[in-house]
Subunit: 382 residues, 2 copies
Amino acid sequence: MQNFTYYNPTRVVFGKGTIAQLNELVPADRRILLTYGGGSIHKNGVYDQVREALGGRTTLEFGGIEPNPRYETLVRAVDLCRKEKIDYLLAVGGGSVLDGTKFISAAVAHRGGDPWDIVAAAAPVTQALPIGCVLTLPATGSETNGFAVISRQSTREKLAFSSPLVFPQFAILDPETTYTLPRRQVQNGIADAFVHVMEQYLTYPAAAPLQDRQAEAILRTLIEEGPKTLRRPRHYAARANLVWCATQALNGLINCGVPQDWATHAIGHELTALYGLDHAQTLVIVLPALWQHQKRFKQAKLVQYAQRVWGVRSSRDAAAVAIGKTEEFFRSLGMKTRLSEHGIGRDGFEEVADRFARRGQRLGERQRIGSRQVREILERCL
Amino acid sequence: MQNFTYYNPTRVVFGKGTIAQLNELVPADRRILLTYGGGSIHKNGVYDQVREALGGRTTLEFGGIEPNPRYETLVRAVDLCRKEKIDYLLAVGGGSVLDGTKFISAAVAHRGGDPWDIVAAAAPVTQALPIGCVLTLPATGSETNGFAVISRQSTREKLAFSSPLVFPQFAILDPETTYTLPRRQVQNGIADAFVHVMEQYLTYPAAAPLQDRQAEAILRTLIEEGPKTLRRPRHYAARANLVWCATQALNGLINCGVPQDWATHAIGHELTALYGLDHAQTLVIVLPALWQHQKRFKQAKLVQYAQRVWGVRSSRDAAAVAIGKTEEFFRSLGMKTRLSEHGIGRDGFEEVADRFARRGQRLGERQRIGSRQVREILERCL
């Protein structure tokens, strides 16, 4: 096991009817900016529950944070916060609203420089506005971590930053608020959580059996509960289990002391930036292709995964079975696992590979994936 | 799944050589009281590492906190803190030092009343001194939770309290500091962590499959790594895995949204108070006896545990097999699982049962265990 630090101060408030607890969780004297996305919270009752719980608190609103939240949108919220002397951010939505709100939080306090530097140049975050959140879409885990991914439309870039200062102070997770999500967002959420686990698990053995089993626990539960909640969106237990799995998948726990990959995400981000595919749509395409390409290096964990998660007892090539089962699982959720199914050919592959080359960026748990390997993996995505 | 709140703000710093990080973790301007136990930290080098990392900070010391830390001892530290205007507590040791330090932390700020009320009368903890810790004994999980158990010699009582204010701010876990622990303390630690998991897992099904699997992950890892670290105390990976299992067993995670038992602990505490047995020694005696007594109510989870943790495929009575395997596991660690092996007969049983009757206390996940059932369970402990 490698040395590690684990720190996660977010208070999770989980269950039916918990939005009412906002009244105790948000300090009474703050000037709040309520951030949200496309407006579904106006239709599903969440907005009304939030406003009622906030009572007479001074609350401004900033809606329209899009999926893959854009720098161009968020800087408008930064201006608003400064002008209106906002001192508390309440994010109501899914991972994109959360990520965007984290950027606003850090950017408001980033004086005298370009806030894009926080993302693009790892400018240190030394101050940030406090954030609370009401999660309405189980997927990214952003509700209890200090990460955010921000896109810039003008340059078609999608980049991440992290800071312990942007952990939400609290996260309200009421599974009932997710009942009315479109099917596609639920599929994406299941896949996103699943691949988050894989980025921290499917690498090489590191003498960390508890972390392995904690990861396998999430995978098995997603395989069991994911399809169940797609079939029966208002089955409370299934939805609650999906929400808790998605949170546990990226809260810093299962990566304690183990190597991490994240190559699937890095390549996927480029595909979203170039082709506009949903984040999770890219992941389910890249993951099996990347595993095939890297199979000999990931052999031991692929076999362990095959045995423990899929119950493969004996097979000449358990690793190949594991890759096949994984792609089948994604397809069983109703997702496309090939670029060609989205009508995408190899036209942009050079551009993607070049981006990694230009940045001198190498990917994977052993940095084995460079520009050439990205190109080869993309060929397997067709 | 039941509604729940999860909150755990402790920063875990895990691995070889991490005591040196005290220098960044403890504020430079604090007046520190370093608390410890029987003095093993002077022999194993931990004390020297701690003092070196603290550098020139004003540091007083309070040693001699005993196993099952005593109120009578701790109030002397409370007086010292007040007299010396201590404003930071650094606990260096195992669960007893941690628990005792939590009591000191809350009691120093408890003015105008008897500090024993914090434990005996649930007096609210409204302020507490900040605590940091260097853990040297994997067992109780106290390093990352807000619980403490305190004993009072004059009344032979052993009672618990909890407060979010007594979570350690940080916990340094260096597995190498545990290499020189006496074998008995390692046995106790493995058993303690194992039973902590059981109190939160072996109840009744609650539609919380992720929490179940997270609990099973800890159990399987303890079964695998516990005996390994007893055989080879300086095997780093085995020791690191034990340390991480013990922390994960009682950090508030696996009990999210599920019923809890804690009857084994409640009865065990009385046995420690009356007979002076080690805490874990009581747990491994009470747990199998309690399960036999409550078998029909715990049937479903006992069968799940048999199948998933012990790999029992088919059996007429998988629940009975599970109970037998558990007792065997404890014995394989070198522990005694019967009171008679400690030379204890039924003399004190009435007294123990009476205590629960006098307090009107009922135990277990469904409050099915009263004074009469405690008496019956104790008979099975002989």
